[in-house]
């Protein structure tokens, strides 16, 4: 069974302000991703738009709030919401993050980091088992963008993700911008990360823009802001990924300072070009 049902072409994160433009002419975009938490209401425009779009495009549901890396149990109410959404929408893919966002009943609206060791591995794998049981389908787990490291980590992120995937059967979502951001922030080699990544488990790629800041020592500190074009070195890193992976579903994320449709479509077109290059390499 294929690890993804999404088309091996460009997709974008769906924003309601692009609804009319997408229905008019979505090219080159072939699929859409929504944030699960924005579509758990009972009705109204969000649900009506999603129903309509789902008749025309494969939809990827991307959760941003389940807190898979949380110390506490998963929120059963939220699991039920995700199950309801997957039941009626029957999306082509469901993905979530290697991160936590809820603690002690409080949702913090950010993707927070966790150390990588035997204890956190067991916890994350248990939570993914629980989610996959609840929604009745395999999920893709996304690598985070990191701003700091933990002294009690005992394995690398790629080792951690590979082992979670092996234990739970989940696929992986490789966010190429996150690789670049984390590698820059933690002084790692992004190409080595890509070389170490279990590509046979990848069902989707993400690309987004980042902002540049500095830490206390004047070292670059990149912030995963999703508020601008994808940076050139991230496109270069994408070529490296595609050379190993071959063509794959490729998503452009642009969540803050959302641009007009032609600007977003131009980013998707750049992604399409990279995918075409990769396909030609495979064929050659």
């Amino acid at each position: 069974m294929s690890i993804t049902k999404l088309p091996h072409g460009p997709g974008v994160g769906y924003k309601p302000q692009h609804y009319a433009a997408i229905l008019d002419d979505a090219a080159p975009v072939r699929w859409l991703e929504i944030h699960a938490e924005n579509y758990t209401g009972a009705g109204g425009r969000p649900i009506a738009q999603l129903r309509h779009l789902a008749e025309r495009f494969p939809i990827s549901v991307h959760g941003v709030g389940l807190s898979i890396g949380g110390e506490g149990p998963l929120d059963p109410d939220h699991l039920a919401r995700l199950k309801d959404l997957c039941d009626w929408l029957n999306p082509a893919s469901f993905s979530e993050h290697l991160a936590w966002s809820t603690h002690d009943g409080a949702f913090l609206n950010d993707l927070l980091p966790l150390p990588y060791n035997a204890a956190t591995l067991t916890r994350v794998a248990d939570h993914i088992d629980a989610l996959q049981d609840a929604i009745g389908r395999p999920m893709l787990l996304e690598n985070p963008s990191s701003y700091l490291a933990f002294t009690d980590s005992t394995m690398s992120e790629t080792e951690f993700l590979a082992e979670v995937s092996r234990r739970t059967g989940c696929g992986l979502l490789l966010d190429v911008n996150n690789v670049f951001v984390s590698a820059t922030n933690l002084g790692l080699d992004a190409r080595q990360y890509v070389a170490d990544f279990p590509m046979d488990r990848v069902g989707e790629l993400h690309l987004g823009g980042h902002d540049e800041d500095e830490d206390d020592h004047g070292a670059p500190l990149l912030i995963d802001s999703h508020g601008r074009e994808v940076a050139d070195p991230v496109w270069t890193l994408l070529d490296d990924v595609l050379a190993r992976l071959g063509p794959a579903p490729l998503l452009i994320e642009w969540d803050t300072d959302v641009p007009d449709w032609p600007t977003l479509a131009a980013e998707a077109r750049r992604g399409e070009t990279a995918l075409t290059r990769a396909a030609n390499r495979v064929a050659a």
């Binding site: 938490e37 924005n38 758990t40 209401g41 009972a42 009705g43 109204g44 425009r45 969000p46 649900i47 009506a48 941003v64 709030g65 389940l66 807190s67 949380g70 110390e71 929120d75 109410d77 939220h78 919401r81 936590w100 966002s101 809820t102 603690h103 002690d104 009943g105 409080a106 949702f107 913090l108 609206n109 950010d110 927070l112 980091p113 966790l114 150390p115 701003y147 700091l148 490291a149 933990f150 002294t151 009690d152 922030n185 933690l186 002084g187 790692l188 800041d213 830490d215 206390d216 020592h217 070292a219 500190l221 912030i223």
Partner: protein
Amino acid sequence: MTGQTGFHAALLDPSAPVPPGLTDGAGRAAGRRFAVYRNNVAVSLTEALIEGFPACHRLLGDDTFRGMAGAYLREHPPASPVMAQFGADLPGFLDAAPQLARMRWLADVARLEYGLRLSYHAADAVPLDGTALAAMAAEDLSASTFGLAPAMRLLRSDWPALSIWRKAMNPSAPQAANRPEDILIARPDYDPEPHLLMPGDAAFVAALSDGAPLGQVAEQALTAQPDHDTTRILGLLLQTGSLTPPQPETMP
């Protein structure tokens, strides 16, 4: 060891030291790297409140609203990842805020804004066709009960909450007169709109929502307001798609 309890507490308290066990890539203390997460949490939740309560934001001013939001998100962090539900406790928080003693009406403006948001996400309903209603015999009409659309909401304010909201959203709207206002939130298609109700209307809508037959509903409104205009409120409910088809009589 860096447990999430310590991480969580330090996220919400900017004066707290960075938790131990967090470093940069070279093993040096994480320092302001931790502030990225602190900032993400405070800014994203504050922005969510500004987006959800635009009139309150304008009425308080940006600095005051952000200060209030910072206190609110620490006292009442979201209880679920569904951000559409964030802010449910804001009206009560504003009611109790001592520094807002001279703006007691602000909590009702927040109730109106939160009500509009709940209406936006409420379940769809097939509205009652007004022509079917007009074709009914008077005694049948009087004995009929009606459903109300899930997106319809009734709000009773001791303040001119709707007029204050309108003026905040549109500076050319008339100045609010100092009197209580009853407000009906209705959602004809997908866009909720607030409507000012006349005296007796709120009793009418409340009786309808209790499932009373129309004749009894009209009587209760007349008790609340002797010159109550049943036709007007019925027209408003019909025209905004707030009435749903007559319910079959249920046996006790």
